[in-house]
Amino acid sequence: MQVNEYKPLIVAFCCNWCSYAGADLAGNNRLNYPADVKIIRVPCSCRVNPMFILRAFQRGADGVIICGCHPGDCHYTSGNYYTRRRMALLFSMLDFLGIERERTRLEWVSAAEGAKFAATMNDFAETVAALGENKRLEDLRCKK
């Protein structure tokens, strides 16, 4: 019973030009994904500071996903290339510290990929749900 009630909290950072539009398209096409996914709009995936990701975990998020334009399609030409390096290194570091590597993800979702957006969110929500609550990067003070 307890297991069924557990709903992971997922924060998704989406770039305004591709992934946020992809999420909108998923909506236009009525493609379902769990309501546990909450989207924050950023101009570009490169706006996502590692501190935001850690903050989300601190405040109780169980998974954080960053979505940006496909490499080569960045509205700002190169933002997602920086994101790719930053996140590759950050994720590797979190893994090094023993944080479950499945809790963080970087995906490229274009404005045309509503279906991919929904599928990605379904998959990510499922993966995070399987991991259970975030215990390793939590701040006990923020527990309700």
Binding site: R84, R86, L89, S92, D95, G98
Partner: protein
């Protein structure tokens, strides 16, 4: 242990001070004990002759002081740099943290510096004198008349035991012989931790980081941490915290600090040297260095002035974040 004698450094600095070629000298000053050496700015050759030291306890990296000290001087500042210090020197130059023209950099060969803690562990407490010998130290304590012989290799600082380079990458003048870039085993420990399971790694780091007292020594000594205002001191940054109140804040501080110096850290090892709790902080930095080398090709921060740091660079074919763990598995 050191091959170049103190007097060689002293005479060089004294001559330049006396000739007015430099206005001050940034070096190491004598302390209460043979081992407690304090970075110091000398303004006269008399001060130098009285208090300047160059011995096996000059582990402190002086390059960070250039940021503040050069601003205070009208003229040039002579600085002594060990090979590892020259990497920090270059990195600071790359980031425009001080003016090159205001510095006269004197490169000093280094045979590795000693860790007082290790020395005390072997020789015991109550040290009254330490003599450097060819192979190490002869230590006398108040508890024993006979000196204890300690091998230099056994008491090296971590950063020296895994020295990456004995080559100076920047200087105006070199005293003694130039060394070479070394094949170090500095990533062995990182690999050992990588080989653990996720649970073991978490337990390992909890064990280490829970000792943190957030004294900020690691940050404040770090030559890559020269921010006018650190995010951890800034109430508006969303990351400010003063104490490791929860395990999250311990992790937050060390992850973000390592991330901020990623690609810029020259692996000078000062963070681990100064940590009062002996947390192996260098491992976090080395993890980033190792990852950068594996993912984006070999890069040594500070090896070349003006080089583009890996995090402000990219290639179209860069590794995808999801492939990070596949790559590491290789």
């Amino acid at each position: 242990m050191q091959k170049v004698n103190r007097d060689v450094l002293l005479e060089k600095a004294a001559a330049m001070l006396d000739a007015g070629e430099v206005q001050a000298v940034l070096g190491w000053g004598a302390g209460e004990f043979a081992y407690d050496v304090t970075p110091r700015v000398f303004e006269t050759s008399d001060e130098l002759r009285a208090d300047f030291v160059w011995n096996d306890f000059c582990g402190a990296n002086l390059s960070k002081y250039l940021v503040s000290k050069t601003k205070k001087l009208e003229g040039k500042l002579l600085v002594f740099l060990k090979p590892c210090d020259t990497y920090s020197f270059n990195q600071l130059l790359t980031e425009h943290r001080f003016e090159r023209e205001k510095v006269y950099a004197v490169a000093v060969p280094c045979e590795g510096m000693a860790d007082v803690q290790k020395l005390k562990a072997l020789a015991g407490d109550g040290i009254s004198s330490i003599e450097s010998t060819d192979s190490g130290f002869s230590v006398t304590t108040i508890y024993d008349d006979a000196p204890v012989e300690v091998k230099g290799a056994d008491v090296l600082l971590e950063k020296c035991a895994n020295c990456k380079s004995r080559k100076h990458v920047a200087y105006d003048e070199l005293l003694g012989d130039e060394g070479e870039v070394l094949d170090s085993n500095r990533f062995d420990e990182v690999e050992r931790i990588e080989a653990m399971t996720s649970e073991e790694r978490f337990a390992f780091w909890q064990g280490e980081l829970s000792r943190c007292i957030r004294c900020n020594a690691c940050r404040d000594v770090c030559p890559a941490c020269t921010c006018e205002k650190c995010v951890f001191d800034n109430p508006n940054s969303g990351a400010e915290n003063k104490a490791p109140t929860t395990s999250f804040e311990e992790q937050m501080f060390h992850v973000i600090r390592a991330f901020h110096v990623a690609g810029r850290c020259t692996d000078c090892g000062e963070c681990s040297r100064v940590c009062p709790q002996n947390i192996p902080l260098h491992l976090l930095n080395r993890k980033f260095i190792k990852d950068i080398n594996t993912f984006y090709g070999e890069y040594q921060a500070g090896a070349e002035e003006g080089s583009r740091a890996p995090l402000v660079d990219y290639t179209l074919e860069d590794l995808e974040a999801e492939d990070v763990f596949k790559k590491e598995a290789e």
